[in-house]
């Protein structure tokens, strides 16, 4: 699709008509950019212990009496700047979110296409596996994989492998939904005559699945991937809040919320509230965007 054709398309037109979509896209973009660009934008490096001073601890957020405008969102018990910690935390949350969605989408597309196109025994086996996994809540699947990996890995590797393990466990917990949707659309597409036309000239099953069927089932996957991104960020935050997520050396939004939770009743509310608001904004904007995309791509709602 050329650039002009894209700007002309129905989806872009629907986007311009929807204030909610524009607003949530704006918020999501600002959050994602400030997360990705944290090392360049953040006023302070929260992982650099040498720059911390306990004298700076528990400064309230900016408009308060003792506050300095440098520490816009206040500081925590170690004197870390909360704004910087949140930006670095978002970076970790987004890394986990995008990577686990990428894993889930890859697995879901491959399994869904295979099950739907081949049918028969492969279909039954793959979809029953998906059904079994769907009976476990995503958080439980992630907890189990996390626990198994924690027990299997040697102690020295545990901290360095924690991020890949979390990504993998969230990715695996998300694939069945995508696989089922892809399978459903593949069942519709595989009997269409353009697939037969490719079979007549001797195209292999792989070629038909990837080149012919895949482009026609990607629409719903895009929607699921967007909604899945919000869910993945939330799952990671939940795992980290429960203390089984990312190590304290690489705090994510969930770690920050758990950490700040301890000070909530001693008056230092900002240590947990600001990471919490950021998480809500991030997941909400991504989900609103996904919801809007689902409606925009659904021809029956036009």
């Amino acid at each position: 699709m050329s650039g002009r054709a894209f700007l002309d398309s129905d989806v872009v037109h629907a986007f311009r008509q929807s204030p909610a979509a524009i607003a949530s896209a704006f918020v999501a973009l600002v959050l994602i950019l400030s997360g990705v660009l944290a090392p360049w934008l953040a006023p302070h490096d929260p992982t650099d212990l040498a720059t911390l001073s306990l004298l700076d601890s528990f400064k309230p957020p900016w408009p308060a009496a003792k506050a300095e405008w440098v520490n816009l969102f206040g500081t925590d018990s170690q004197g870390r700047d909360m704004l910087s910690a949140i930006m670095y935390g978002m970076r970790v949350s987004l890394l986990v979110g995008f990577c686990s969605v990428a894993i889930a989408v890859t697995l879901g597309i491959l399994i869904g296409l295979t099950a739907g196109y081949l049918g028969g025994a492969p279909d039954t086996i793959l979809m029953r596996i998906a059904d079994v996994q769907l009976t476990f809540p995503a958080i439980l699947t992630a907890l189990m994989i996390n626990g198994i990996a924690g027990a299997a890995l040697p102690r020295t590797m545990r901290d360095s492998m924690q991020v890949p393990v979390i990504i993998l466990s969230i990715g695996i917990s998300l694939w069945p939904g995508i696989a089922r949707t892809v399978r459903g659309s593949t069942l519709v597409e595989r009997d269409k005559e353009y697939v037969l036309a490719a079979r007549v000239i001797g195209a292999t099953s792989w070629r038909i699945m990837l080149r012919h069927v895949l482009p026609n089932v990607l629409g719903p996957v895009l929607v699921l991937a967007t909604l899945g991104l919000g869910l993945a960020v939330l799952t990671e935050a939940t795992l980290s809040f429960l203390g089984v997520g990312l190590p304290p050396t690489r705090p994510s939004l969930g770690t920050l919320i758990r950490y700040g939770n301890d000070f909530l009743f001693s008056g230092q509310w900002w240590v947990t509230i600001f990471p919490g608001i950021t998480l809500v904004l991030m997941v909400l904007s991504i989900n609103l965007l996904g919801d809007w995309l689902r409606d925009a791509l659904n021809p029956r709602l036009r």
Binding site: Y194, A198, I201
Partner: protein
Amino acid sequence: MADPPMVEAVGVTHEFDVSLPPLRRMLSREPRRFLRAVNDVSFSIARGTTLGLVGESGCGKSTVARLSVGLYTPKSGEVRFEGQNLAEARRHGGARRQMNMIFQDPYASLNPRWRVSDIVAEPVRMYGLEKNESSVRRRVEMYLTQVGLVPSDGDKYPHEFSGGQRQRVSIARALSSEPEFLVCDEPTSALDVSVQAQILNLMRDLQRRLGLTYLFISHNMAVVRHMSDQLGVMYLGRIVELGDAETIFQRPRHPYTRLLLDAIPDLDHIGRARTPVGGDVPSPIAPPPGCAFHPRCPLANARCREEVPALVDVGGTRVACHAVVEERGSDGALG
């Protein structure tokens, strides 16, 4: 020895498994069920000619079409391509390249996410007919021109075309592998009448110029008459009459063929009382015993209800009907 026919079917039978899924079948204690879509069908198509197949919906025409390009493998019997078993011939790209298919629904037969030039070029690329992309492009433009489109149409997507134009794209794709044998599965039934004529004339013109062999499937008698050298009439999976197309149109013998021809509106006989064909096509899962047509046939008798008639030569065409062989129908019961 004469050349073998381009395409030949010998006693081809094909069944579809229409049983319930294994678990539900076990619970409801139902046996496996098969739908015999094509039953003991034989025909041969000489190089450069057209065999037309007609029949009602669900009589197995499309299954025959798919069997003859190797999309299905017959349950029994054999399809031969230039004297060789079709499945074996299709293992080599060389033979596969010689056949292609034009489909019924111009809205489903083109991949909506592909540009027309990629759709037409796919066979060219698959078979490696051209060395580089610029010659692929030239070739695609040539085929688009040949079917009456313009080369710049290659940059568009299928949804930008009308039904007739899409069918032209479909034909261009079918031609681009330089086939000798084309299976056309109701290529005009989804089109307006005025567009139908254009597409049919285009196909005949291409046949004359390129020496193509067609298996032409339709339920429209007029379309088949326009296209065919030979004609086969199918009823419930079997060929009931097979022979020279013009002869059958002049002198139909099988009662089913006669009823079909009788049903065509005719400008010369306005107001003529038409014999409505009573009843429905029986279920192919449980076909009636004997001749499958006997429940609807005005000439049926006890023999028809028990014995399946074989195709026999009757005055130049081959007919599967006891009544015709016994000359039961000649007393004018059907006019």
